[in-house]
């Protein structure tokens, strides 16, 4: 019998709530209160998430965000700034001691990204894992991922671009050309692609979530069972949203 993990489909939420929910799941999983969990979610309104170490002023055009109604939030994970608009975000929370998760952080990125690759394969899309934390299709980025480990628990979240408006994305993000200096690409805008672009047709959020569910099940030889957030997770998430992710103190700390 296959091991059962929890599947959460929490729908579309604000940046602050989304980040708070991931952290709440991490806390509850670290206490052994909830099983390994895979979550799919989206962002309303569109938002930018910043890596833990990034400077708001260096990475984001705050005026452009205000003008376009785009929120921004600092993650508890490192990595780069991401514009969350037409995309699916996943998170996985699992104990560091679970045999499915390599102790080595880089190897664990690879393992979790393999689940995403298996998911993309369900959609007829052949991707490759590009260490440290990207998935590429035809040499362009379709997914970025970021992992933290706290209280012996792994949280990795990342995005799959369903569609992309590069002009809006790069009007909000300040990406210097140093970023791609060694990638032989002339313009940062040429660095991203999307499922719609690759498939040549629109594939819905739900279809991608279904494909990724299969991807996680295949990669980890588990069964994902639809579940809901526990009351403790909901309470914690509200607390994290209020006391951390929605505050200037947190979001502007660097």
């Amino acid at each position: 019998m296959k091991e059962e993990w929890r599947l959460l489909q929490t729908g579309f939420d604000t940046a602050f709530s989304n980040m708070a929910i991931d952290r709440a799941i991490l806390v509850e999983n670290s206490k052994g209160k909830v099983p390994p969990t895979v979550r799919f979610y989206g962002w309303i309104p569109p938002a930018i998430s910043l890596g833990y170490f990034q400077s708001v002023a260096e990475e984001i055009d705050i005026n452009a965000c205000k003008h376009l109604g785009v929120d921004y939030v600092r993650r508890i994970t490192g990595g780069g700034a991401v514009f969350h608009d037409k995309e699916l975000t996943y998170s996985i929370v699992i104990s560091e001691t679970h045999p499915a998760i390599p102790k080595n952080i880089l190897q664990s990125y690879g393992r979790i990204c393999n689940a995403l690759l298996q998911g993309l394969k369900q959609l007829g899309i052949q991707g490759t894992y590009a260490p440290i934390n990207d998935i590429l299709v035809d040499g362009k980025k379709i997914s970025g991922n970021a992992q933290t480990r706290k209280a012996n628990t792994v949280l990795q979240h990342g995005t799959i671009l369903l569609d992309v408006d590069v002009d809006t994305m790069f009007s909000l993000l300040k990406v210097p050309n140093e970023k791609i200096k060694d990638k032989l690409i002339r313009d940062v805008k040429q660095r991203v692609t999307s499922i719609e672009h690759i498939a040549g047709k629109r594939i819905s959020f739900e279809e991608v979530a279904e494909a990724l569910t299969v991807g996680f099940e295949k990669e980890f030889h588990i069964e994902l069972v639809q579940g809901i957030l526990t009351n403790e997770e909901k309470t914690l998430a509200l607390q994290f949203e209020k006391e951390c992710f929605s505050t200037t103190q947190w979001n502007h700390r660097r």
Binding site: G51, Y52, F53, Q54, S55, E58, I76, T77, G78, G79, G80, A81, I105, L106, I132, N133, A146, Q147, T148, R149, K150, P176, E178, K179, K181, D182, R254
Partner: protein
Amino acid sequence: MRSQSVYKVPQGKLLKISVEYNKKNNVIKNIWITGDFFAYPEEAIELMETKLRNTVLNEGQLLEKIRSIITEYHIQFIGVDAEGLTKGILMCKL
């Protein structure tokens, strides 16, 4: 004196470092290490910034200090290393 650097670590991440230092003796007063790298635990970066205060902007001394902080506090960097941090910091020296 405060100055900044942007340094893409080869095969790694983008470092954006800002250093406030004494121009007379090149001693760091304050330092802000930002970028899209990864560090475990994440909070170690604030510790690194605090510990690098009063260090001279000199390659050997910086590298030794950064390496000793990494070892002492069991910090694991991904996308940047002690050499990359040292280079990014020294690029701030005008």
